[in-house]
Amino acid sequence: MLSCRLLLLLGLLLLCKGQEESGGGESCDNFTDLNLSHCFMGTVLYVRLLLYTRSNLDCGRELDHHHPSSQPLFNVSRPTAFVIHGYRPTGAPPIWIDHLVQLLAEQEDMNVIVVDWNKGAANLNYFTAVTYTRDAAHNLTGFIETMQEEGASLSSVHLLGVSLGAHLAGFVGANLHGKIGRITGLDPAGPMFTSAIPEERLDPTDAMFVDVLHTDMDSFGLRGTHGHIDFYANGGADQPGCPKTIFSGKAYFVCDHQRSMFLFLCALNRTCSLTGYPCSSYSHFLEGRCLQCEAFKPAPCPVLGYDMSQWRDTLLKLGQTRAFFSTTSTLPYRKMSYRVDMVTWNQYLRWGVVYIRLHSGKNFTEARIDHKQLRFEQYTSSRLLAQFDEDLQQVHKISMRINTGNVIGPRYKIRLLRIRFTPLERPERPLMCRFDIILEENMEVAFRPLPCGSGL
C-alpha cells in the first residue's frame, strides 16, 4: 500500500517537474505519462524517442524518426544507448528511468535515447503489449537504419531492454542481423516466452555481445540462458528482502523483477561491485565449487555492469556463460565472500553444517552454510563458500559452530588440522588461518585468526 502511494507521489512529482520545466521557455519532451484509465481502455502503439545527452540530462528532446539529425544535440559520431522499458500495467513512467539515464551518461559521453512506447505497453491486456513488441521493434529498426545512413556505426549501438523490452531489443538486433554492438537484457520477460524458440526471444545471435541479468525466473522472468553471459542474482529466482506472501501487496509481484534494474543501477553507480562466478548451477556455486576464473586470466571473474570489455573476448569464445552471485537485501547488495578450506584428522567420515561468525570489535556478521551438509573426511580438504552480509575490515575473532544433525546420541567432534579463510574479490586482504582446533557439535568455538604465512 505504502509503495503504491509512493509510486503515485513520485509520478505526481515527475509530472510537476515536467510542467515546471516546460514553463521555463525551453520545451522538454518527457516520458508519456498515462494512468490506469488508459490501461483499462487500452492504448495503441506509438513510439517516441527521447534524446538525453550530457548537456540536456534533465530535459529530453523528442527525435524525428526520419530526420534524427534535425535535433542539434544528437551527434551520430558518439555511441548511442537505447533504453527500452517493458510492460506498463499502470501506465505510469518507470521510476528508474531518470536515474538510469543519468548513470548511463556518466559512463561515457553518448546519446541516451529513451524508447518511450508507453502507448502500447500500457494495456491491461499483457498479450496486446506482447504483440506490440514486434511493431515497436520494427519502428526502432527503421530508426537505427536511418541513423546508420546518417553516419552512425551499428557497433556503437547499445540496447538496454527491461523485461519485455529485452525481447524487443532482441527483435531489433535480429532485424539488423546481429550487427548491433551490444544488448543488455534486464530480467527478460517470461510470460508468453517460456517456450519461445531463439528467434522469438532475446538470444546471443541478436547482437555482437549480449549480457543478461536474471532476478525473477520463477514468475515474470525467463528461465534459461539468453546471452553470451547470463548473470543470475541469488540463483535468478527469489531475491532476499522481497515479500514472500501476497499480503505485501504490489511489492509481492514486482519486487523480484524490479531488483534486476536496481542491481544494474547499483553496478553502474559503482557502489556495488557484483562479481559473477561462472558455474553450472547456483547450488554448485554455493558449495564453493566455482570460485576461480581460470578462463579469464589475467582478468578477474566477470563483474556485472556497463564496462564488460575485459571479459568480452573470452566470453565470446566461450559461447554462453552462466555466472552466479549472491546479494544482500538492500543497498549496496554485495556480500563479503570467503572461501573456507578445512582439513580434519578425524578417522571417521562426518557430515555437518557450519555457522561462522566474524567479529571485529563489537560488530559481527554471520554466515550460515546450511544449504547442504559438508563432508569432513580425514586428511582431505573440505571447501565451502561463506558469504557475509557485512564487510568487516579487520577480523579480530572468528567463531564457529557445527551441527551434524545428530539429535540423540553422542556429541561428535570435528578435529581440524587447519582452517583457512581466503577473501574473494579482495586479493589485497591477507588470508586468515588457524591450526589444530576442535569443533564440538553445537558448541561455539572462538579463535583469533593468524596470518597464514608463506606457502599456505
Binding site: 584428522w345 578435529r415 589444530d436 599456505l456
Partner: protein, 260 residues
Amino acid sequence: MDIELQTKTNGATYLSKEQVPAGNGDGAAYRITEVGEEDGLLSAQTSGCNGGTVASDHAVETQINLEKIHTPQETSAVCRIKGELNEVIFWRVKLWMAIIILFFFIFAVIIMSMLLCSVIHEDKDEIFDPSTFQVPQCFNGSFQLPNLVFTEELFTMSSNESQTLAGELREKLADLYRSSPALGRYFSKADIYAFRNQLLLADFQLTFLMPAEHQDQLRNITLSRKMVYNVFRQFLYDQEPDESGQMYIDPVSLKMFLKH
C-alpha cells in the same frame, strides 16, 4: 453412542428394558425407513456380539446403526475387540492396561539405551596406545627472545643461568605441544641446546614419536613441518607481549626444519 457404551460396560447385567425408551424417541423415523433388509443383518450382528442383551430390541439397534452409518459387521468387530480389551488378566489389571504398560516399557527401553549409548560412546579418535609410537620424527629450529636481558654467562650452556632459562623454555615448549589436540599424543620431548649471539637466539630440538602404521600419512600431514611449525607459531601469536615479559618469543623469528 451412549447406549452402545452402556451396553459394553455393563455387559450381561444390562437390562434390555431400559434401552427401549432411549430409542423410542425416534421411533417414528425408524418406521419410515426400510426394515426388511436390516433385520436379516441385524440378527447376524446380535448373535456375534452382545448376545441376548440387545437381541430383544431390534428397533433401538437399527436406529443406532442407521445414525452411525456403521455396517453391523463393523460394529460387531469393534464390540468384540472392546470386550476382549476389558478382560481381566490378573488381579484388577485389564488387557488394555497391560498393552499400554507394555508400550511404555518398550519406549522406556529405547530411551534408556539411547542415553546409555551417548554416555558410553567412545570416541575412536581419543583412543590410542602410546606404546606403539616408536618411529621418531625430529625438528630443529631457533627463535629469538628480544626482551631478555643479555648476560655473558648465558652463552655457556653449563652455567646456572642458562640452565634455568633452558629449563623454563623446555617446559614452555613441552606444555604447548602436549596440550595440542592433534600433536599432543605424539610429542616426546623438547630440548634447548644453545643460546647464540647478541640477539639471543635459542636453538631447540623437538622429538615426536609415531606409530609404524599410517606413518607416511602422519609424516606428511599431521607431523609435517608445516603443522608442527604452525602450532608453535599460533601459540606465539596468541601470547600477550606484556604478560610474557622476558620470556617473550618473537613469532616472526621462529624458524624450524625437519631433521633427517
